[in-house]
Chain length 316, copies 2
């Protein structure tokens, strides 16, 4: 467990997020890291485990796990018991995210060499092992939701969480969005098509983080509906801000290659709307996220408000 840092670089939340949120997120991040450390198997054979762990551990903002946990706590009013459904959902969605990054970085996709401040998985382990590690991480995500002993989850909850995650990951969600992205290089998508692409490509996993956290905590349907509005606004805001950072931040701050969308001639919110209008759009989406939380009438939505603020105000 030596690789778990109590205060990883990814914890650089803006100070106006409040001390309370900072302390909460630092604790949750350390717990998520410890669970991933336990659940991503070093014993996977022939170097596969090393590649999987390299792809997942010691890096990343862990935005999706934090969203899942903040939602579960907001709904239930208490911290989930370590290892239960909310934690499994939090780690499962992070594994899907990690697999998608590994495959996205491959030479036949974005051909990227830097990720989370480190050489990408294929640079470190070779393309074939990176391909397999991504494949195995996708499977592991569902394995986490289906522990041999049931993990204290009713089978109906486990099946529901799996279904949400698989739909968010596959052709209707992330993989479908990546295909649109692939086809869209050099094309001028209009705003509706660009939003449809991002709703699938990055939005679906952010939304499902909120959905799974809510389901794990037993949210009722009205709260779930409002939380979905929050998740959708947050997901879109995340991408708009990503596009802004791609042109305003440098690679060292981002921990990945800056300016690559513009270099690849990819359509972005900045290329479509201009920088000022993109920023205004991100602010409007942030307001929409806050409003959805007010509608949801949760026990304590402070951390979900803070995450939305962070998504729009982050510098990496």
């Amino acid at each position: 467990m030596a690789s778990i840092s109590a205060t990883p670089q990814s914890l650089a939340f803006p100070s106006d997020a409040g001390t309370d949120f900072h302390a909460w997120s630092a604790e949750r991040l350390a717990q998520v890291e410890a669970l991933l450390e336990r659940w991503v198997p070093p014993e996977a054979p022939a170097g596969l485990g090393a590649a999987m762990r390299y792809a997942v551990l010691d890096g990343g903002k862990r935005l999706r796990p934090l969203l899942a946990l903040a939602t579960a706590e907001a709904v239930a009013g208490v911290v989930p018991a370590l290892g239960d459904a909310a934690w499994r959902a939090a780690c499962a969605v992070e594994l899907i995210h990690a697999y998608s990054l590994v495959h996205d970085d491959l030479p036949c996709m974005d051909n990227d060499v830097l990720r989370r401040g480190k050489p990408t998985v294929h640079v470190r382990f070779g393309e074939a092992q990176a391909l397999l590690a991504g494949d195995a991480l996708q499977a592991l995500a569902f394995e986490l939701l289906l522990p041999a002993d049931g993990g204290g989850m009713a089978p109906a909850l486990a099946a529901r969480l799996c279904r949400q995650l698989v739909c968010a990951s596959g052709w209707q969600g992330m993989a479908g969005g990546q295909a649109i992205d692939l086809a869209g290089v050099g094309q001028l998508l209009d705003q509706a098509r660009l939003e449809d692409m991002h709703r699938r490509k990055t939005g679906a996993l952010l939304l499902v983080s909120v959905e799974m956290g809510a389901m794990a905590a037993g949210a009722d349907e009205p709260a779930l509906a409002a939380l979905r509005d929050y998740g959708r606004a947050l997901g879109l805001a995340f991408q708009v801000v990503d596009d802004i950072l791609d042109v305003t931040a440098d690679s060292a701050t981002l921990g990945k290659t800056a300016g690559k969308d513009a270099a690849a001639d990819k359509p972005t919110f900045v290329s479509l709307l201009g920088l000022a209008a993109a920023q205004a759009y991100a602010d409007a989406l942030l307001a929409r996220a806050h409003e959805a939380l007010d509608v949801a009438q949760l026990a304590d939505a402070r951390h979900l408000h803070a995450i939305a603020d962070w998504v729009v105000r982050r510098n990496h």
Copy 2:
């Protein structure tokens, strides 16, 4: 539905399998093809659906679906209702198999251009789309087991089938075996290590086909244990025969590139044991599979016996 052939080329079972088995398998294959045609979504965006369907439809021996269905029928004594758990399991395992072939054929893995008698997916659609199609097919496999309306399955059965399939697909199973294979190129594995590799790489999916068929049909534990012995023997026999065919058959008969293992300096049962001893080993495994079926005391195991015969006597 025009693409469903009533008698695809893959139905070339040896005549000594008996007319009964031939008729049964022809009917099941047509039904599996119709379900895959329905379930692999043409509406997946930006060409992703076309690539997914190209990877899955109109090809393949469909050994795994036949195994799942034959097992379900052997246990329950009746044909499963079309669309129920056994059919979903049969198609789900075929999707995992199809995704693994797409990724395995990529230039960074086996770099193969011919599969099921057609250009491989990346040759036809490009590497990036092939990567995404494989990823989306893996997700779709689990989606099939988790239909929105439950598909008439109890959540506990759906969760159990998902768990079996995810463990067979991931680091403990297929992906782990592929990593060993990758590391083993040019190395002399001993027989125990070669068998461990194949138990994971191809055996796990064949075994899980049997397991899922048995579970979908409500097999009791003693029958399930005996069927697992059958599945393990069959899985190993399948690989031994694959290695034999790799050196004795031509590409046209195989529908894929012949002699590629030898060319890649990969360890095989033939390189390890020699051709005659490998054939004797396959025959011994066939006998073990038949014996396991006798132990299982099923309602009607004829088709499972016939599939084992086919696996060892096939010429492609």
